[in-house]
Structure formats: structure tokens, C-alpha cells
Symmetry: C2
Subunit: 231 residues, 2 copies
Amino acid sequence: MNAIKKDIPNFITALNLISGVVAIILCLSFNNLELAALFIFLGAIFDFFDGLVARALNVSSPIGADLDSLADVVSFGVAPSILLFQGLWNISCCPWSAGVALLIGAFAALRLAKFNNDTRQTTSFIGLPVPANAIFWIGFALSLPMLKELMGLYPLNILSHILVFFIGYLMISEVPMFSFKVKKISFFGLRYQLILIFIAVLSFIFLKYLGLSLTILAYILLSIVQNKLSK
Amino acid sequence: MNAIKKDIPNFITALNLISGVVAIILCLSFNNLELAALFIFLGAIFDFFDGLVARALNVSSPIGADLDSLADVVSFGVAPSILLFQGLWNISCCPWSAGVALLIGAFAALRLAKFNNDTRQTTSFIGLPVPANAIFWIGFALSLPMLKELMGLYPLNILSHILVFFIGYLMISEVPMFSFKVKKISFFGLRYQLILIFIAVLSFIFLKYLGLSLTILAYILLSIVQNKLSK
């Protein structure tokens, strides 16, 4: 019974990884980017619950933490990377220019290796967390056809390249980012989180998928502002 | 200069991960399983050299070890899983029965989480290592059309399901497996390794790709024999 209890969180983490693999297949074999994005979100739900269940059952373990990273690199590193790859390929009819997308998985792995065992991260993150990376690319990849209409293929390709390195750099940077894990719940203590939720809702209503990417950019900006003000 | 030196092994590990992602794209977008298999092998070469370079430059680190696992789960867990998935899909014209292949990635992640920080593993492994898992599935996936001719679709589907659980179980099992890292080079001390090389060469000559899978089965068998005899 105890052995089964111990394995429940790991089973949930495995479901996170499998969700990521399903997202990859939906992108590349079925060219269904929206459904793929949903599976990445499903992975995020499993990712949220595995830790929660492990703590509730009091079976947190180093193996569980390692497994978590291994699932995260697939669901929030490789899967978004493939999502952007397929999105860029769709708008440009050529897989080569989409190759830059593959770096996202490598940046995510670097981040997970560098920061997952970083004890400085308790109620805040250092660098952009990988689920935020996933949300950014879901929004961007799903908005590519609209962005192509708006700004043309060539500038969009350049923008994609810049963003891959910008988001990649932020993941492995030492920039402090606030989290939703707070010690004490108060309106003032949660002001940055509340502003972000407000931006997220508004931008999703008006810009649909692109709102997801803008929310992550707002998150980065708000974190920098919070950091400057608290000094 | 020192910072660059420190990053060289991590750069090589990142190339391992990217090779795995390229293999996944070659499978699903181009249905080119042979080229995908070559990229998994390329990943294995990077995997071999990152540790070697880290030790040579004296820059081994816990971050490097973690990054190694994160790349391995993609190249030797998810990529072989996708290879089998596409292979099964090709012979059965239906993606659903191929779904069992997705478990390979989850088993590989469980293995990496469970054993990568296991200090008992020095000159031998406990359970089947993930590169051996990758070699097994490369051989099996590339031989699927031939196996279908030989035994028919339905029995082959059942065999695939059994093998996924058998190889998956071996990865997370406590079965001791010998390695090629030996303390002292002698003909007698290396007898199991030499028998395995002999089987690998012979089976590859006579059975081509299927020889890869048979070599891994021989490796499992020889490890069990060695283990029984040394008791």
C-alpha cells in the first residue's frame, strides 16, 4: 500500500511527460497546433498536481524532483520548441528557417539543470521558469499566421530568431521573477500577481492567443519593476 | 576563458538533446526512420564525448550531470518512443495501436530519475541503461516491415506491447548489467564484453537492423549469466 502511495506522484509526473509527447505528435503528424497546445496545458496541470499530491501524501523524494525535471524538459522545453518549429514551417513552407526553434529545448534543459536544485528559489524564481517559456511559445506559435499578415514573413522570421534567444537567455539568466507562491495572502503583497492576472484576462480577450505571449512579457517586465522598486 | 571551458561539455550535451529533437522531426514529419536512427546514434556520440571532455578539462559538475539526464531522456527515451510509434503506425495504418510506444519515454524518465544519482553504479549498471533501450528500439522499429511479413500484424502488435513492458521493466529493475568501463583490461576480465561484440557483429551481418535488438537481448542474457556465475 505504501509503495503504491509512493508511486502516485511519479505516475502523475509520467502523465505530464506523455502529454508532452502527445503534443509533439499532434504538431508534427497532424499539424494540429491548437490541440497540441491544449496537451501542453494538460501537462502543466499534471505538473501542478504531482507536487501537490506528493506533499499531501508526504512522499516527496529526490527521485520525484528529478523525474519532474525530466518530464518538464519534454512538455515545456521540447514540445513548445516543436510547436514553434511547425508554426514557422507552416508560414514559410520550408523547414530550414524553422530550425532556430530547436534551440528552445536546449535552453529549457540548461535552465532545468542550472536552477532546479537551486535552493535560493523558494517564493520567487531566478530566471524565467519553463512553464512560462511554454506559455510564451504557445501564444506566439498560434499567432504566427496573424503576425505574418501584419508584418510580413521576413521581419517575422527575424523577430522569431530574436525572441528565441531573448526568452532562452531569460531562462538561464539570474533575473529574479516573482511567483504565485506567497507566504501571506494580502492585497498589497499580491499586487504584482493581481496586475498580471488583470493583464492576462484583458490581453486574452482582445488578442486571443497572442495575449498569452504578451502576458509572459508583462510578467518579465513586472518582475524587473518589482526588483528595481524593492532595492 | 575558464567560463568558456566550463561550458564546452554542456554545449556538447545540448547537441545530444538537439540530435534527439531532429530525430523526432525526421520520424514524424518526414517518415524517415533510418535517418532518425542515425541522429539518435549521433546523440549517443555527443553523450559519450560530453562526459569525456568534462573529465579531460576537469570541469565535471552536478549541473552537467543533470543536463546529461535531461538530454538523455529526449534522445534515448522520447526519440526511440517516437521511432517505434511511427514504425507501428506505418505498418498498421492507424496511430491508435501505436500509442503503447509512448510509454517508452516515461519508463526512460523513471530510470534516469531512479538511477542516475545511484552511487552503486561504477563499473556496472543496475537495470538496462537508456542508450541500450534506444539501440533496442532502433533495431526493432526499423525491422517492423520485415517482422510483419514474417509473423503477421496482429501477433507483431502483441509482441510490441510485451516488449515495451519488458524493456521498460528492465530499465527500472534492479538487475545488474555489465558495462564496458572496466578497471583492468584483460582477456578473461573482458570475456562477456568480447562475446557481446562478437554477437553484435555476427547478428548485424546476418540480420541487419534486427541484429541491434538481438544484441541488446544478448546483453541482458549475458548480464544475467554473469550475475548467476559470480554468486
